[in-house]
């Protein structure tokens, strides 16, 4: 009986390990290429990390660096040269600016609105809520073209504003917060009013602290979505490198795929991809919770 149980268990592990290996293939490829030398990449040799022989890199000397500077181990060269070729810190900074601004504005707009929808009685409340429900149907990417036309007419293409404006209203955030506020007892708000607090203070001093768990889940959802978003920045940022978000940077690194060296290219992609992956692995539970919670409601 027990033996049968273990056979059943190992059979599952066998399948899951094959699945996990398939899932990890591109990650393996990415990391491996960012560490190895061009020859090793082209001959598909050297396993995950390659031989790491100290060598002089011709592309580097062609860029005007001395032979001495260009002599090092491949992994070091790939990352060093990646940072020489593209303003990677700038791209990461832009990603941070855009995602954080989007999240803050979303909360600033959504929190009072959802409080009003959940806890205040006013004429047209049902109508506003059904409007929210209707807007939930509209994916912003689907209406990207008319939005782009509007922004272009306003002269906002190639600005931070263009990256942020379409995402300032999160009907999903309003919906999520409203559902959350519905579960907050009215007594809490009444008590605050008894203490002489106005509605504004109630939103920011009473409801905001109460909503932290929901806000955290929403933050993860929002930041992940916009850090990874490629379609929208691709449309509204046409040429200004100073405004490139990480995905636009990634696209630029890829550039001439046949001529360039692959090692530094993959090193830049790894650098840009890693912050989010590390954050995910460190705070895994929160991420999964955030994404399922925001998904299920």
């Amino acid at each position: 009986m027990l033996a049968r149980h273990y056979i059943g268990e190992s059979w599952k592990h066998g399948l899951l390990i094959i699945g996990a290996l398939i899932v990890l293939i591109p990650f393996y490829m990415m990391v491996s290429m960012s560490l190895k030398s061009q020859q090793e990449i082209q001959s598909i040799s050297g396993g995950l990390v390659g031989a790491q022989e100290i060598q002089t890199f011709p592309v580097c000397t062609k860029h005007g660096y001395t032979e001495e500077v260009c002599t090092m181990r491949p992994y070091k060269y790939n990352f060093w040269f990646a940072f020489k070729k593209a303003p990677i810190p700038r791209y990461l900074m832009n990603g941070l600016i855009v995602t954080v601004s989007i999240f803050l504005i979303q909360v600033l707009i959504a929190l009072p609105c959802s409080y009003a929808l959940a806890k205040l009685r006013f004429k047209g409340r049902e109508f506003v809520f059904s409007m929210v429900l209707f807007c939930l149907l509209i994916p912003v990417h689907a209406i990207a073209l008319p939005l782009y036309v509007m922004l272009a007419k306003a002269g906002l293409v190639d600005t931070y504003a263009a990256l942020i404006i379409p995402w300032t209203i999160s009907v999903f955030g309003i919906f999520l917060m409203r559902q959350f506020f519905m579960t907050v007892p009215d007594e809490l708000i009444d008590a605050a009013r008894m203490d002489g607090m106005g509605e504004y203070s109630i939103v920011w001093k009473v409801m905001l602290p109460v909503a932290i768990p929901a806000l955290l889940a929403f933050a993860i959802f929002s930041v992940v979505a916009h850090w990874n978003d490629y379609f929208w920045p691709r449309i509204v940022i046409t040429g200004n490198r100073d405004l490139f978000t990480p995905p636009l940077g990634i696209r630029e690194f890829r550039g001439g795929i046949d001529s360039d060296e692959f090692g530094p290219m993959m090193a830049s992609i790894v650098t840009v991809t890693i912050p989010l992956i590390v954050a995910f692995i460190v705070a895994q539970k929160r991420f999964v919770e955030g994404i399922t919670m925001t998904g299920m409601k």
Binding site: V23, M33, C113, R121, I138, V149, N228, Y230, P247
Partner: protein, 318 residues
Amino acid sequence: MHHSKAHIWFVWPAIILMIVILILPIFLAGGISFTNYNLGNSSFEWVGIENYEKMFSRKTYIKMIISTATYVLIVVPVSVVLGLVAAIMLNSLRFGADIYKTIFFLPVMATLLAMAIAWEFTLHPTLGIINSFLANGCGGIREFILGFHWLPWVSSEDSWYSVACANNMDFPYWLKDKKTAIWTICFIGVWQAFGFNMVLYLAGLTSIPRELYHAAEMDGAQSTWEQFKLVTWPMLGPTTLFVVTITTIRSFQVFDTIEILTKGGPAKTTYVMMYAIFEKAIQQNITSIGAAITVVFIIFIILLTFFQRYVIEKRVHY
């Protein structure tokens, strides 16, 4: 409940933004789709349904509908079933479930664009590890397994694997071949999406009360499969509906992998709607056609959601 004027300041910013950012653009797209407007031109004319006629008669747009439908119809069922199977397997494990969960969820988190490039190299005919893995396996156990030689009706000479081995390692070009490109793109779509579905199903599974399984056992449902049919599957109804809807809406919007890997080609076999909007309206500046595609796209998505809500009301209950 309380009476004050505060709600005006609480609600109006959201209302205005909803109207300007979400609702107005739909009407704008509708309007533009009946004109010959191009961004940058100062004037335009009304052309009636000409743009829509083009869309439903020209080969390019027929191909667009076909590739979008293929992508959605493959990625949605496969990633939902895989997500469900993975969730059920992980749920029954005694140890190690967390590691698999992390790994399967990685593609959901990782920047899709970066992963598309990683796949590009992985699948590259000469640099990629997939084809080198296949080439090194000629004559060995890999050829036996992946060439399906273990199936009685596959002869060990005519299998796709053996033919490729015999023809100087002529393995598929994956993204460069019009016979395989769309399937490869679908594969990457499934790879990316199933972990998300798995996590939703895991959440759904934990909310099924244990007693139901005991009750099913009492009623004579002994095998795992019978219990699945009797308890798990019906109880997961709402989760399934949600998972299917959200995966469908996301699949309709596939863009990143297409733009990086195939640009809609070869021979327009991967020319999906989002890419068509991008190519026509943004790159070629034919705004009016892009608007017509946008309108059709929105109609698809709204119909889909209404269908989902209808099903919720009619069927999913327990």
